[in-house]
């Protein structure tokens, strides 16, 4: 049995608390960058959901570590926010493995 943890901004935090999951509030990407490496070592956590824009500031070393670990599973929550463009994390994986850049569209 594992826990579900959310790393998100204070505005959304209350909502996730209503759903009963564990929430770690961070103020902005900087805070997330500090907290995520520690979360990776927690044994009781199954899934960590992180705001997508927080994932984008993580450095490459940490990203490759996230890509390699299977538990906890770190998953970005897609937030529709202007200015958060760039290659999403799945697409990056795709390009590396298949050699083609596949754009997920819906």
């Amino acid at each position: 049995m594992y826990k579900f943890t959310v790393v998100t901004d204070p505005d959304t935090a209350a909502g996730f608390r209503l759903a009963g999951v564990e929430v770690i509030e961070v103020d902005g990407p900087e805070g997330a960058r500090k907290i995520i490496p520690d979360l990776l070592f927690r044994d009781d956590t199954g899934i960590i959901a992180v705001n997508e824009d927080y994932m984008q500031v993580l450095d490459d070393k940490l990203m490759s570590k996230i890509e390699k670990t299977y538990r906890p599973i770190i998953i970005p929550i897609p937030i529709q926010k202007r200015g958060v463009g760039g290659v999403s994390y799945v697409e990056r994986l795709l390009r590396r493995a298949i050699g083609y850049n596949i754009v997920l569209r819906r």
Binding site: L18, Y70, I75, R106
Partner: protein, 208 residues
């Protein structure tokens, strides 16, 4: 295997031929595995697209509900209700096998809760809180689903990558080198045979 390490003997040639046959068979099998994995991967990709779309929608809805709740109940009211939720969703991870790749299967229980199980007082709050809670429960559900799909994708991609690397190593490195060594040995053996023949002829001419 560098050419200078190859001993031009017949037994070496036989061994090399065996190795080439083996490598080629392995190459074919790995190539099929790679193609199979890619097909499997594209199936998952379809699902991933759907689940990501759903995740986005639910996030938006949850966000909207949150805004409404904040307006109706005030930020403090929402937080009060939020902190009184006791039930914690449980996640269990098991695994299943796709073409030799072990992928996780996530099962979650107690994500969706009834009104009474949520823990905050029903009388003290409005229905907006309930709706917000249920919107976020939906969101958590969507996240869990796409976590499963995404980690499956991750594993498949890893496997595809390493299979691809092996296929390429066989195709462009191992097999060409082995064939080169085989050709070299063949050439040397032929050469030695011709040497031997001409030597025999010479001896024969000398003695006769």
């Amino acid at each position: 295997m560098a050419l200078k390490d190859v001993k031009p003997t017949r037994s070496e040639l036989i061994a090399l031929k065996k190795r080439i046959a083996l490598s080629e068979r392995g190459y074919k099998i790995l190539k099929m595995k790679r193609d199979g994995l890619i097909i499997e991967f594209f199936k998952i990709l379809e699902q991933a697209k759907d689940s990501r779309g759903m995740l986005g929608e639910r996030y938006k809805k949850a966000q909207e509900m949150m805004a409404v709740a904040n307006t109706v109940e005030g930020a403090i009211g929402v937080k009060t209700a939020a902190f009184s939720v006791q039930e914690v969703p449980d996640i269990s991870l098991s695994s299943k096998n796709i073409m030799g790749v072990v992928v996780p299967e996530i099962e979650a229980s107690k994500v969706k809760k009834g009104l009474i199980d949520r823990g905050y007082g029903l009388l003290g709050t409005t229905s907006v809180i309930d709706e917000t809670a249920s919107a976020f429960e939906d969101l958590v559900e969507a996240i869990i689903e796409s976590a499963e799909i995404e980690s499956t994708m991750k594993k498949l991609l890893d496997e595809i990558e390493s299979t691809k690397r092996r296929v390429n190593a066989l195709e462009f490195k191992v097999i060409p080198e082995l064939t080169e060594a085989r050709d070299f040995i063949k050439m040397r053996l032929d050469e030695m045979e011709r040497d031997e023949l001409s030597r025999l002829k010479k001896i024969k001419a000398h003695s006769g």
